[in-house]
């Protein structure tokens, strides 16, 4: 066919742009990960410029693998991603089933529910860590203070006074320490991404086989067994998709960690790369390659799932 040229020509700009975008920076990262490359070194000034003569082999990888920071960052990344995934999937399924019926104001409920997804990550983090979770001035501090005041006020009351005398004085939690700030990140990202899971599961529920459901009702299946044996299996595939897409997004979580945890030790892989990039480019690049490998493990499965439906 002679007219193959025009379609090719039309695809060329997009393909070229993406090819350069993918290959050039990634190739540089790969190269840097095998050489000694630091930005500031008074002792070995030759290491401050990238060059083949600074070849280090797998030295950077070894250095990164042996550093405590890297192990912590990997574990922390997995902890954060794993927690977000389980929370969003469970909440997503429950909420999707809950609103998958007609009731007054369903449209408004949907609009309210989806809104968090469109909040930009920086605003999400600033809003949660300051206005909601701050132990003194945030809503958390206000709520804890109110409960304590109420308990104190009730201590002299007749009949129930003894109860409030035994009531402990609640301490607000600071979400700016290493581990608690990981929890804060999990909360805010779960808040943002549960709507996404709900939306996907709802879309999928609408294509559920109604006849099968009616047959099940006729056979006297309980609500629970309908959910367990019909709805859950139907949601299996969307669940896998939600898990994989979120895994890819959250493995590169950055703004939330940067805003909530700057300097307090709670880091994930992208944050660690950012820290290394201040000086040790070799280590930053080796860490980057590990991040690419980690993301690719998920991406392969996701692409396979997407590929199945792509040409239908």
């Amino acid at each position: 066919m002679a007219n193959r040229t025009i379609p090719r020509l039309l695809q060329t700009p997009a393909v070229l742009l993406l090819l350069v975008w993918m290959l050039v920076p990634l190739g540089m990262t790969l190269f840097y990960s095998f050489i000694r490359y630091v930005l500031n070194s008074t002792v070995r000034p030759e290491w401050t410029t990238p060059s083949w003569s600074n070849w280090r082999g797998f030295g950077n990888y070894e250095f990164v693998l042996n550093s405590k920071d890297f192990l912590f960052a990997i574990k922390n990344s997995l902890f954060i991603v794993g927690s977000i995934l389980s929370l969003t999937v469970v909440l997503g399924v429950l909420i999707a089933v809950l609103i998958n019926r007609s009731f007054p104001g369903r449209g408004i409920v949907r609009v309210l529910l989806i809104s968090p997804f469109f909040v930009m990550p920086a605003v999400n983090a600033v809003l949660w860590i300051n206005m909601l979770l701050d132990p003194v001035l945030g809503l958390q501090g206000i709520a804890v203070g109110a409960i304590n005041d109420m308990a104190a006020g009730m201590q002299d009351a007749p009949l129930v006074g003894w109860f409030f005398n035994l009531w402990p004085v609640l301490e607000p939690i600071s979400f700016r320490a290493t581990q608690t700030s990981a929890i804060a990140v999990i909360m805010m990202v779960t808040w943002q991404w549960t709507p996404f899971a709900v939306l996907i599961f709802m879309t999928s529920l609408q294509s559920e086989d109604q006849q099968q459901k009616e047959a099940a009702v006729l056979d006297g299946a309980s609500r629970w067994s309908q959910f367990r044996f019909l709805t859950l299996p139907h949601l299996g595939r969307p669940m896998a998709i939600v898990v994989m897409i979120q895994a890819i997004f959250h493995l590169s979580l950055y703004a939330e960690i940067e805003i909530v945890s700057r300097g307090n030790g709670n880091k994930n892989l992208p944050y660690l790369i950012g820290e290394f990039t201040n000086n040790n480019i070799g280590a930053a690049s080796a860490t980057g390659i590990f991040a690419v490998i980690l993301a690719n493990i998920v991406a392969i499965f996701l692409l396979r799932a997407v590929g199945k439906t792509l040409m239908e």
Binding site: P7, R8, Q11, A14, V15, L18, M22, V24, M28, T29, L98, I99, P104, G105, V109, R110, V111, L113, I114, S115, F117, F118, M120, P121, A122, V123, N130, M131, L132, L137, I142, W191, L199, I200, T203, S204, S207, V217, L218, R237, P238, I241, I245, S252, E258, P270, I273, G274, T277, I281, S285, G288, I289, V292, N296, A299, L303, V306, G307, L310
Partner: protein
């Protein structure tokens, strides 16, 4: 025959009520942010003014003075709009060729494009900083932000357009060919009018993603091309002193996007799952 499920009066009231409660809980942080934006900085941290206070617009009036809001907002608008248009300009011809003249490689090319979206940005942080700062000298320019936003969204744009285009019957395009239309003519006279809805929703979604992007816009800018993400990120810890004004600027930064988002919920599903969920 439809089976009328036997629902008790309890479940007719209880489940919708629960749905409303859940929805209100999820919306509450946004509501609280908007509410706080109408309080003075002093009132914003006082428990007694939690829900009853004298509303004020001073936080919005002083946004320019406090944060130079409009400069960042202008940058966000310029970069997001141009990145979206640029992505469409590159994406429409590509998706058109893929949908109407698919070759054996088309599927692989599409998959490869999606795979570029899945590379963790942080892995190429230093090369990008180095290239833009030392080699091309485009660090902290609108050009750079537009280019990067366009590139990271291009796979999704092409993919979404592809799914819309392949639903258009091929005969129509063939008929256009018979009538002697050129390729450009086909795109202009047939494709764009027919796929207008799809193109618009792709554009809306891309715009939202550009607006909310928070890695490259933070790491590749300092002042000149800094967007709203950078502005908010720079005010991460106001020590509780400025909750009122911070809420106002945050509300202004996300408000329009949330409203826009309400209109493209449906496209969100196909756009974000690459069509894997129907």
């Amino acid at each position: 025959m439809a089976i009328v499920a036997t629902t008790s009066r309890f479940s007719k009231i209880a489940w919708p009520t629960l749905a409303w409660v859940v929805a209100l809980i999820f919306f509450f942080p946004i509501f609280y942010m908007v509410l706080t934006s109408f309080k003075t900085d002093a009132d914003a941290v006082k428990p007694e003014f939690l829900f009853s206070f004298t509303p004020t617009l001073e936080n919005y009036a002083n946004m320019t003075e406090n944060y130079d809001y409009w400069r960042f907002a202008t940058n966000s608008v310029i970069t997001s709009v141009l990145a979206t248009l640029f992505a469409l300009a590159v994406g429409v011809p590509c998706a058109y060729a893929m949908a109407f003249n698919p070759s054996r490689a088309t599927k692989d090319v599409l998959m490869w494009m999606l795979s570029t979206k899945m590379l963790p940005a942080a892995a190429v942080l230093y090369p990008m900083t180095f290239l833009t700062k030392n080699v091309f000298g485009v660090f902290d320019t609108h050009f750079l932000v537009i280019l990067v936003l366009c590139l990271i969204n291009l796979p999704i744009v092409i993919w979404m357009l592809f799914t819309y285009f392949k639903d258009i019957p091929k005969d129509i395009i063939e008929a256009g060919k018979m009538d002697g239309l050129t390729t450009w003519g086909e795109v202009k006279e047939i494709l764009i009018p027919l796929a207008w809805g799809g193109i618009v929703s792709t554009a809306l979604l891309t715009f939202i993603f550009c607006w909310n992007e928070a890695y490259w816009t933070v790491r590749l800018t300092t002042i000149d091309a800094a967007t709203l993400s950078k502005l908010i990120e720079g005010n991460r810890a106001p020590e509780g002193l400025f909750f009122g004004r911070l809420s106002a600027v945050s509300t202004a930064a996300v408000g329009p996007i949330i409203v826009l988002g309400w209109f493209c919920q449906k496209q969100l599903v196909s756009g974000l799952t690459f069509g894997a969920v129907k």
